[in-house]
């Protein structure tokens, strides 16, 4: 039996039935991480000793009669989540020496549920990137083709799940950072509604867009994990105080009567072979009883320029905390306070992070604030209003996750605009705070392609139902990269 290809539900059965212990399961994944982890560069930190201790504790809890969907099952956290006593680098030299004194709410909730943390995954520096190439720790490799990128920013989490190095992984999505790597690595990736999952202890990039989510092999597995992660947290000032439905229990609802919106703007610029797979995916949903209608969001094509004002503006403000004084990198022998700030930040941040900080500084500076920042927030409102109107006539919007499959490492590093356009189909959901999921829907040249579903605020359950229904009649989500099967 290959433990790393089992679903969460299957593993839980094995654990409940005493067929395998959490300690054995954890050793299985630690062995895989040691053997194939380094070639993928998916992890920044391996926490083998803590994982073994957590596994023993989980086995004791289960022996004492405790049940739980995640109890004793191994995961990997994106290195953007603060983990008490464990290095939390956010993919940056700036935090290479940072050991978090506390746990993020996402981490403490999963810990309480008995999840086993195997390690912290590699990522684009401060989550700024779409290819995992901006990481201080080097690029992650795509398990389907080691010469290609896994996507980003949560590239390590996506690659780890795809390669069977953990059962599921956490990620964050500010402009597509869960859905885009999920599509490029052939796994299921879910970004909940803004405010659904606590941002406490999740290192901030753009606070009005950042949202935590999950990578797993199926919508059914995502539902189990999201049920534990989601919920109100008074330590996050934009956390939503609303009950969390039982996502797993609602999965099986039929799709008959579901109205799917086909967004005209989602098909512009899409590679023809990707478009054919997305179309085939939509046909599967139709066969399940869904009806389709075409909708248009005329301002949606402006989502990328809107994002590249709003996100850098928020980033330049959030990252001003890294000053070389209280934590993080400090330059050697500063001659005065200004030198301390400028050199610590100049040395600690990488090329892309500095570019975003400067873009943000520029659009917020005196004389430009109205023309750029205020204007972008107005266009963001227009885009959000168009989504709201669309959801008056459709239940979900369906389209591609990315314009192309995974591209070669190095192919786009010299051209920021081309890199930014990778997120053309994903950014809209972030600007409007909407939940969205990417599910595998086929292959182009042996590389996975993702189908994206976007829903209205708090329609997590509906999206998971639709994705689960799709995965009941397709097997794309069961395909594994041949080298890691």
């Amino acid at each position: 039996m290959t433990l790393h290809t089992q679903t969460l539900a299957e593993l839980r059965q094995l654990l409940d039935g005493g067929k395998v212990s959490s300690a054995e399961l954890t050793e299985h994944f630690l062995e895989r991480l040691a053997r194939v982890g380094p070639e993928l560069n998916a992890l920044i930190t391996l926490t083998a000793d803590q994982a073994r201790a957590q596994a023993r504790a989980a086995d004791r809890r289960r022996a004492a009669g405790e049940k739980g969907p995640l109890l004793g099952i191994p995961l990997i956290h994106k290195d953007i989540f603060c983990t008490e006593g464990v290095k939390t680098s956010c993919g940056s030299r700036m935090l290479d020496n940072f050991v978090s004194p506390y746990d993020a709410t996402v981490v403490s909730r999963l810990k309480a549920a008995g999840a086993i943390m195997l390690g912290k995954s590699n990522m684009d520096e401060f989550a700024m990137g779409s290819s995992n190439e901006t990481s201080f720790y080097g690029p992650v490799k795509n398990p389907w083709d080691l010469t290609r990128v896994p996507g980003g920013s949560s590239g390590g989490s996506a690659a780890a799940v795809a390669a069977g190095l953990c059962v599921y992984a956490t990620g964050t999505d500010t402009g597509g950072s869960i859905r885009q790597p999920a599509a490029l690595c052939g796994v299921t990736g879910f970004k909940p509604t803004y405010g659904r999952v606590s941002r406490y202890g999740m290192i901030a990039f753009a606070s009005s867009l950042d949202q935590a989510g999950v990578f797993a092999h199926s919508a059914a597995d995502v539902a189990q994990v999201l049920g534990v992660m989601a919920g109100f947290d008074e330590r996050d000032s934009t956390s939503v105080d609303a009950p969390v439905p039982d996502y797993a229990a609602g999965l099986a609802a039929p799709l008959k009567g579901l109205t799917i919106g086909l967004l005209r703007e989602f098909f512009d610029g899409l590679e023809p072979r990707n478009a054919a797979l997305v179309q085939a995916g939509i046909d599967e949903l139709r066969k399940l009883g869904a009806t389709t209608r075409e909708v248009s969001l005329p301002h949606l094509p402006l989502s990328v320029p809107t994002y590249y004002v709003v996100a850098p503006a928020e980033c330049s403000s959030n990252l001003s905390r890294y000053d070389g004084v209280r934590f993080g990198h400090r330059c050697d022998n500063p001659k005065d306070l200004l030198d301390l700030y400028e050199r610590s930040r100049g040395e600690g941040f990488g090329t892309e992070v500095k570019r975003r900080i400067m873009t943000g500084t520029y659009v917020l500076s005196a004389g430009y604030y109205d023309a750029y920042y205020l204007k972008a927030q107005q266009v963001r409102q227009l885009i959000t209003d168009e989504f709201r109107r669309a959801f008056q006539s459709v239940d979900v919007l369906v389209g591609p996750t990315t314009p192309t499959p995974a591209f070669a490492i190095g192919a786009k590093v010299d051209d920021p605009i081309t890199m930014y356009l990778n997120d053309i189909y994903t950014i809209g959901a972030n600007l409007a705070g909407l939940p969205a999921i990417s599910v595998p829907c086929g292959f182009v040249d042996d590389l996975p392609v993702g189908l994206q579903l976007v829903g209205p605020h708090f329609a997590e359950g509906r999206l998971l139902q639709a994705a689960h229904g799709f995965q009941q009649v397709t097997d794309w989500h069961r395909r594994r990269p041949p080298a890691y099967a």
Binding site: V240, L340, E342, A432
Partner: protein
């Protein structure tokens, strides 16, 4: 619109980032193209549109009681500090 080397140096200073001369050249070019790219927003008619303040309709920032909820954990937090003396963060001399 193109940024100049002087613009870039001013932005870098405002952001408290030391940028080398070679980096500066590259950033002038890439920041100019980003500024041109986002300038497209200027063409949109946004007359009467309120700038978006929150992604969720009707949501406002919560307030809480003005009560002390944090305990003193400075030793724990200062373990990550580059230089601490007598529980104070040490920086280069500011006042002569």
């Amino acid at each position: 619109m193109s940024l100049t080397r002087q613009d870039l140096d001013k932005i870098a200073h405002l952001a408290r980032l030391q940028i080398t001369a070679a980096e500066s050249e590259r950033y002038v070019s890439s920041l100019s193209s980003i500024v041109d790219f986002v300038a497209e927003l200027g063409k949109v008619d946004t007359q009467g549109v309120a700038p978006m303040a929150h992604p969720l309709v009707g949501q406002v920032q919560r307030l809480r009681e003005d009560a002390i909820t944090e305990t003193d954990q400075h030793e724990r937090y200062q373990r990550n500090a580059p230089q601490v003396q007598a529980a104070l963060y040490v920086v280069p001399r500011v006042i002569e």
